[in-house]
């Protein structure tokens, strides 16, 4: 929209086009790393992607995106040795980590070809070859020896030279390391490795050049096959985990967990049968379970108004004591109104709530060809004008390009805020042609194709008006809550997101349309369910869910404390 921002976009595209190949390689790299190390959380522990220009001795030169290393020292004595580390240490959550180094040139003739490939901890002297010092490990090309934190090597493998590809694999489960030469495993070189080692290479001969492959290219050695073996080992270990003498107890415990899970989610009949067949007591009265089941059914079918009413009837003080919960339910009700599933708008749409298939994806039967974009925009305008946060249309909350592009087109006059312009510009430009195309499609479809689409509030004008009115009530409830209980950013965001739906002619395909998905009813349902259970002094989370959550937490704790086996034990693998 504004000059500078489009300029910025232009610049970006130049960069992208200027190094398309690099971009491709980057994509390859990311894909390969994700596939090799799915358990690694890169926000916590980034993977090595290149050599570090900061963590190297001065005799080392880097090029080709810091993947190529060349030696530029004198190379006369061991004092001229020089090393470089990768940008990051190897995360334990890799389970098995692997990188390869290709010898591009063994260096000038007349020198002994000192060259070491290996691992070192942060802070190890870089004026040395890997392996010579404490917490440093290397495999040297001149004699094929391995150096384990020592100046004297042990016979290990063959020598290596120009054209050879040397791989280094760290097993973070048993803390060992082996090397490969041209795709052949040379066997264990080091054991009892410390955590947080960095890939490292060291050179000492003028003219030596090596290239690293941290996943930029396919590896010569079949590391994935090695990983398969360890995944199988870890999974077999889990499967065979001894439960010892307590086998009977074990079974009873599992049955208890399943029963409590069923009760928690009010699978009334199933819970009853299960409890009976496993000879257990249920710690909640059947009537109570049925009540919760009823409320949950209403929430899950999108009939929020009824759900709120029923809750108030059955648990009179619950929502009163929990205004935030009530607010959340009402926001959901608003969304369901937009969806056309809430009972209030259904009545107005002339449909019996009971006979209506509530699944949002199902076709609507009543199609009045109204709702042009401008009608909606008008409503939006109307709704938003009094005291509404001017940030709204910036899409700060949703932060998706789509929102910006759309709001910028559909409500230019309603949002004259200067901030909006800036934001629209800087982000709006990189948003994509996709948004534009969508808009154009909308132009064509207005009043023509819309007939076949889902319609706002089920398509009835009265319902739309009811929805608008409800929105205003919600707005004032929000203001009231703020006055009473202070700011609540979660509530604010919730409301904003819900109202954003009105900014689109077809909210379902809009970037905030995910809210309309029936799957979004589930968290609402479980929050309400937990609140009810809490008032009965029952756990707000079923033990089964707690156990699953704990297992997941354990795995991330293992990753942090350096237990590599977490890489091959995803909780999800056991849930399906």
């Amino acid at each position: 929209m504004s000059g500078p921002s489009s300029g910025c976009g232009f610049l970006m595209s130049v960069v992208v086009h200027g190094d398309l190949a690099l971009n491709e390689q980057e994509k390859d790299l990311n894909q390969r790393l994700r596939r090799l190390y799915p358990a690694v959380n890169e926000e916590e522990t980034p993977l090595p992607r290149s050599w570090s220009p900061k963590d190297k001795f001065s005799y080392i030169g880097l090029s080709q995106n810091n993947l190529r290393v060349h030696y530029k020292g004198h190379g006369k004595t061991p004092k001229d040795a020089a090393s470089v580390r990768a940008t990051h240490p190897i995360p334990a959550a890799c389970g098995v980590y692997y990188f390869e180094v290709k010898i591009i040139s063994k260096g000038r003739d007349g020198y002994v070809k000192y060259m070491g490939i290996g691992l070192s901890a942060q802070g190890v002297n870089m004026n040395r070859l890997p392996g010579w010092d404490k917490h440093s490990y290397g495999y040297h090309g001149d004699d094929g020896h391995s150096f384990c934190s020592s100046g004297t090597g042990q016979p290990y493998g063959p020598t290596f030279t120009t054209g050879d590809v040397i791989g280094c694999c760290v097993n973070l489960i048993n803390n060992t390391c082996f090397y490969t030469k041209n795709g052949h495993s040379l066997g264990i070189a080091f054991t009892d490795l410390p955590p947080n080692l960095y890939p490292t290479v060291g050179l000492q001969t003028p003219g030596e050049v090596v290239d690293a492959n941290f996943g930029q290219h396919p590896f010569v050695f079949d590391i994935e096959d090695y990983m398969r073996e360890w995944r199988t080992k870890i999974q077999a270990q889990i499967d065979r985990f001894p439960i010892g003498e307590r086998e009977g107890e074990w079974q009873a415990m599992i049955q208890k967990m399943v029963a409590s899970y069923l009760v928690h989610h009010s699978y009334c009949a199933t819970a009853e049968v299960f409890a009976k067949s496993t000879d257990q007591a249920v710690h909640e009265e059947l009537a109570s379970i049925k009540n919760r089941q009823k409320i949950q059914k209403l929430v899950l079918s999108g009939r929020m108004g009824e759900a709120i009413e029923t809750t108030q009837q059955l648990y009179p003080s619950l929502l009163e004591l929990n205004p935030d919960l009530l607010f959340m339910l009402k926001v959901r009700q608003f969304i369901e109104m937009v969806n056309g599933t809430d009972s209030e708008v259904r009545c107005l749409g002339g449909r019996s709530p009971k006979s209506q298939d509530s699944y949002p994806g199902s076709p609507r039967l009543f199609n009045s060809p109204v709702h042009k974009a401008n009608v909606i925009t008008d409503h939006l305008h109307f709704l938003l004008s009094p005291g509404f946060d001017s940030n709204y249309c910036n899409g700060v909350s949703s932060s998706k390009g789509h929102t910006l592009a759309h709001s910028h087109k559909s409500c230019p006059r309603t949002m004259p805020s200067p901030e909006l312009g800036v934001l629209n510009g800087s982000r709006g430009q990189q948003t994509n042609v996709g948004a534009e195309v969508e808009m154009e499609v909308d132009h064509f479809s207005n009043g023509v194709f819309l007939c076949s689409k889902r319609q706002l509030c089920g398509g009835s004008q009265a319902a739309i008006e009811r929805m608008i009115q409800f929105g205003r009530e919600l707005q004032s409830m929000s203001e009231h809550l703020r006055r009473e209980r202070g700011k609540n950013s979660a509530n604010k965001k919730m409301l904003k997101d819900a109202f954003s739906l009105l900014a689109y002619s077809d909210p379902w395909i809009s970037p905030v349309g995910y809210q309309l998905d029936s799957i979004r009813r589930e968290p609402v349902c479980s929050t309400l369910n937990s609140a009810i259970l809490e008032t009965h002094n029952l756990p707000k989370q079923p033990p089964l869910a707690l156990a699953v959550g704990q297992a997941a937490q354990c795995l991330s704790l293992m990753a942090r404390t350096g237990s590599g086996s977490c890489a091959f034990a995803s909780v999800d693998d056991y849930l399906h």
């Binding site: 493998g157 063959p158 030469k181 795709g183 052949h184 495993s185 040379l186 066997g187 264990i188 079949d222 096959d225 090695y226 398969r228 073996e229 995944r231 199988t232």
Partner: protein
């Protein structure tokens, strides 16, 4: 023993009771009411499951012929016939004695006959029983091939159901033991029929199909060549095998797939530098040798690997640095381990049973690894206690271990350096000589071949071997029926005579006897002839020796030389003969034997004008020696 005695009285009473009930089961098979018979068979089925005693009782009481009769009667209901097959299958699951009794009752033809029935359930029951009988080591596999219609019929039944697939492939996998069996199966389209089963959803079917291919391809070029062109669901068979070697697959599957590819490679159907061999099969087999694997798997892994790389030095080099293979094999000699002996009798028993197998497999693999590359041989001999292990292996009671040990020694004896050092230090000639005294031919061939190398001029073991009276032994080898032994015997003598003392040469001639020498000169095996000529040449070196030997055997030698030069022989043989003649010409008195022999001079002249340069050179060398002597003698 004690426990048995204590329990004995109780056992007897139980036994008589059991026999009584068993008798009752058998009696019911003869009931006139077919419905009662059926119920009787069903009850019998339930009674024998997992009860070996009951099975033995029923067999003793003659249930088998009756069951077979009922099974074969077309008047029996299908249900009854099926139940009979099930009970027989259950009886076969017992001890080896049970199987013997069943086979003696001609169960195999009866069941094979049953396969002609159209009912699948009945066929499956018959196949299941046949499978159990055929996989037993006591069943002669030939019984599968006596009726030529059986194999094609089994092929046609193969795809009927998951069970027919599993049982039939399992039968094939166990009953294909000779090249003839391979050919029969191959000619009945075994490959085309079994290949699709490699991608069956059933693990068992896949595994059995894979085993079929390994036994079919073993040392069989025709099968191997066909296999490379087979596609399974659009994918090359070799790639299917590669996938079966993935490390998360069951070990048995990995190992068997590696065998298939090994056999295909050795048959020349896959190149040794193909990625599926070099990057997949070889590393897979090395993994099978690791300590983590079961002892049986380690034996098979090492043997297969030895076989794979035997003819290819590049594979030997790669294997030699893969996963510390050379030192990993040293572990094969540590069974039974001292720990197992103390802690666990069962384990000790297991270890003992496999100890010989492990040792011979390791020796075989070392032999294969070291057969070409000097650096690898050095690495092997430097492995902990290697030479000691070979030395003790040479005198082990197990013939298999002795043979493998001597093969290993033979492979290492190709190294000049090792002959000079470790071989001498460990006096390997001693056990080797002992081995040569009294051993089967296959050991003898390897041992004598090794001895040839130990008798090379630069080998420090040569002297002590000479002193140990080896000449008689070698001379007796030259009289063997086996050409390989004759070659090795004469070869060793040839090496021994090279630059030897007069005394040794005389001794050789004496021990061998001119008669035997000339018999060897007309040996049908060219190798024997060549080495004999080589021996003559070595004997006839340095002037005094030449004159001495020619003075005593000149006539016969000249006769033999004439005979060979006139005969139909290869260029190499004639060249060697002319060289002998040249040596004779080098003697002072011996040269006269040529100079006075006009015919011989004519022959030399003829060969000087021969179109072959080698023969020209040899003949010229002859003349030159004749002339040289004359000049030397002239005052």
């Amino acid at each position: 023993m004690m426990a048995c005695l204590l329990e004995a009285p109780l056992r007897i009473s139980v036994l008589s009771e059991v026999t009584a009930t068993s008798r009752h089961y058998v009696d019911r098979l003869f009931d006139p009411d077919p419905q009662n018979v059926l119920q009787g068979v069903i009850d019998m089925k339930n009674a024998v499951i997992g009860n070996n005693k009951q099975k033995a009782n029923l067999i003793v009481l003659g249930a088998v012929p009756r069951l077979l009769y009922l099974l074969q009667q077309s008047s029996s209901s299908l249900e009854l016939r099926t139940e009979c097959a099930v009970v027989l299958g259950s009886l076969a699951m017992g001890t080896e004695n049970n199987i013997k009794s069943l086979v003696d009752c001609h169960i195999i033809p009866a069941l094979l006959q049953g396969l002609l029935c159209s009912d699948l359930i009945f066929i499956e029951a018959c196949l299941r029983c046949l499978r159990t009988v055929f996989i037993s080591p006591v069943t002669p596999v030939q019984l599968l091939y006596t009726d030529p219609t059986v194999i094609p019929h089994l092929m046609s039944l193969l795809s009927r159901s998951r069970h027919t697939k599993e049982y039939i492939t399992q039968i094939f996998a166990h009953c294909c033991k000779t090249p003839e069996h391979q050919t029969v199966l191959f000619n009945h389209s075994a490959i085309q029929n079994i290949a699709p089963l490699l991608i069956s959803p059933s693990d068992k079917v896949r595994m059995q199909a894979l085993k079929c291919f390994s036994v079919l391809a073993y040392e069989n070029t025709q099968v191997s060549m066909t296999l490379v062109n087979v596609l399974v669901d659009g994918e090359q068979l070799s790639q299917v095998f590669v996938r079966m070697m993935q490390r998360d697959k069951p070990i048995e599957m990995q190992l068997t797939a590696a065998k298939c590819l090994t056999y295909m490679c050795r048959a020349g159907a896959i190149r040794t530098d193909d990625n599926c061999i070099i990057l997949k099969t070889l590393p897979c087999l090395v993994r099978m040798c690791s300590k983590e694997r079961l002892l049986e798997e380690r034996v098979e892994g090492a043997e297969t690997l030895a076989y794979l790389m035997e003819p290819d030095v590049e594979l030997q080099r790669i294997a030699s640095f893969t996963d510390h293979l050379v030192s990993m094999l040293a572990d094969y000699f540590k069974y039974p381990s001292s720990v197992s002996a103390i802690t666990d009798i069962k384990r000790l028993d297991h270890d003992l049973k496999h100890a010989h197998e492990l040792r011979q497999a390791a020796f075989k693999l070392y032999a294969s690894l070291g057969s070409n590359d000097e650096d690898i041989r050095k690495k092997i001999t430097e492995t902990e206690n290697m030479m000691d292990r070979i030395v003790s292996g040479l005198s082990e009671s197990s013939i298999k271990v002795r043979l493998a040990a001597v093969r290993c020694l033979h492979s290492l004896s190709r190294s000049v350096q090792q002959l000079r050092t470790s071989f001498h230090d460990h006096a390997v000639w001693k056990p080797l000589m002992k081995l040569l005294q009294n051993a089967p031919d296959e050991v003898l061939v390897m041992a004598s071949s090794t001895l040839c190398n130990l008798l090379l001029e630069f080998s420090p073991s040569k002297e002590p071997i000479l002193d140990s009276g080896v000449i008689e032994l070698l001379c007796s080898l030259t009289q063997s029926d086996s050409p390989a032994l004759r070659v090795n015997g004469i070869w060793a003598l040839m090496n021994m005579a090279f630059q030897a003392d007069q005394k040794v040469k005389v001794e050789i001639v004496r021990a061998l006897g001119t008669e035997q020498l000339f018999r060897l000169l007309s040996d049908p095996d060219t190798n024997v002839l060549m080495k004999t000529l080589g021996l003559l040449r070595n004997l006839l070196s340095t002037r005094p020796h030449i004159d001495q030997i020619m003075s005593s055997h000149g006539k016969q030698i000249m006769q033999a030389v004439t005979l060979i030069l006139e005969g139909e022989h290869s260029i190499e043989v004639k060249e060697q003969t002319l060289c002998i003649l040249a040596n004779i010409a080098d003697g002072n008195t011996a040269k006269e034997l040529i100079m006075t022999n006009d015919d011989m001079l004519q022959k030399i002249k003829y060969y000087m004008g021969h179109s072959n340069v080698k023969l020209q050179l040899a003949a010229t060398f002859c003349i030159s020696n004749l002339i040289w002597n004359e000049e030397d003698d002239s005052p």
